[in-house]
């Protein structure tokens, strides 16, 4: 009975007239171990169909990735770097600020620099006092200039006297 229907199905199958259900029946039949001897040659065909569908799989990852996510990742990495660098410098950079932390050479250099600055400062003060003297002098000078005016007024008067004396002498001649 079963064999009969299978033979019919096979004929239909060869003509491309079977439905998917009928083809599944055929596949199920040939998946058994016991198959009618004259149909033995069909067995590998249907077995092949079954096994390829189960075994031939695409195993690689589906390439669903965008470039954007990479960019954001790198930005975050860079931000982290900058942040940690900032924290590092503020935390550990300040510890070297006290005088005792400096090396001997640095201390000497510092002292020398301080001395030089002191010297420059004292000279500058001296210079300032000199400038004050200049100021006094210029004040006196302007006072002197005022006095000159008195002198010039005086000389005017004497000139007048001299002129009148000369006129008198001319008349006397």
């Amino acid at each position: 009975m079963v064999l009969n229907s299978i033979e019919k199905l096979l004929e239909k199958y060869d003509n491309g007239e079977t439905t998917i259900k009928e083809e599944q029946q055929l596949k199920a039949y040939f998946a058994q171990d016991e198959v009618a001897p004259h149909l033995e040659s069909y067995k590998p065909l249907f077995q092949y169909f079954n096994t390829t569908k189960q075994e031939d799989l695409y195993t690689k990852d589906v390439p669903a990735k965008t470039k954007k996510s990479y960019i954001y990742q790198w930005i975050s990495v860079a931000a982290l770097l900058v942040l940690s660098l900032g924290i590092f410098t503020t935390q550990f950079g300040d510890t070297k600020k006290t005088f005792s932390d400096l090396s001997a050479e640095e201390q000497i250099a510092y002292n020398q620099a301080v001395e030089v600055f002191d010297l420059v400062g004292s000279k500058f003060e001296q210079g300032e006092s000199n400038i004050a003297a200049f100021g006094l002098m210029s004040k006196k000078l302007s006072e002197g200039a005022e006095n000159f005016e008195h002198v010039s007024e005086f000389s005017k008067a004497t000139n007048k006297i001299l002129k009148s004396k000369k006129k008198k002498q001319n008349k006397n001649k």
Binding site: D14, G16, Y42, T52, P63
Partner: protein, 169 residues
């Protein structure tokens, strides 16, 4: 469309794409490359994906066209990926082994079919598509598909019964 949406969409048919590619290109590596290429193309056009009526049929058509192009370019380079060309060198032993493993023999027979028949047979007998779906992929009318399928099946059966009856030699 997010990555997970895309993966969900692609997951049901990525193996089908791969198997069709492998049927046509024979080599597993070539088929993997082709599959990746197809999936990448889909991902790049993900905005348009909603407009497609049938993403699976569309992808299968893309796969078919891609693989046929690939084969053409390979033939132009005179570089055959069909590895039937090394059979002549190693004669008897390999053939004997193949004869015993008759399931492998089936794949050899399918390899010798014309491309069109290969595609139709693959879609029908392995992926179990109905004729309307196959029609969308190969752009043929269902009767023509039926005829091609019948020819392919008859060729396979003939060769199988021959090898079964007489062996290989």
């Amino acid at each position: 469309m997010t990555q997970t949406d895309f993966t969900k969409l692609v997951l049901p048919f990525k193996d089908k794409v791969f198997r069709l590619a492998k049927r046509l290109l024979v080599s597993r590596e070539e088929a993997e490359d082709a599959t990746q290429e197809i999936l990448l193309k889909l991902w790049k056009n993900k905005q348009k994906i909603a407009e497609y009526k049938n993403v699976e049929a569309f992808s299968m058509t893309m796969t078919k066209n891609f693989c046929l192009d690939r084969l053409k370019s390979k033939q132009a380079q005179n570089l055959k990926i069909v590895h039937s060309n090394y059979e002549e060198k190693n004669t008897s032993l390999e053939k004997q082994v193949e004869a015993r493993d008759s399931v492998d023999w089936v794949s050899k027979i399918i390899e010798e079919l014309p491309e069109q028949q290969k595609i139709i047979l693959q879609l029908r007998d392995i992926e179990e598509y109905d004729f309307d779906e196959i029609a969308k992929v190969v752009e043929m009318n269902p009767t023509a598909i039926r005829v091609a399928l019948s020819r392919a099946r008859k060729t396979i059966r003939e060769k199988l019964t021959n090898t079964h009856r007489y062996g290989i030699k």
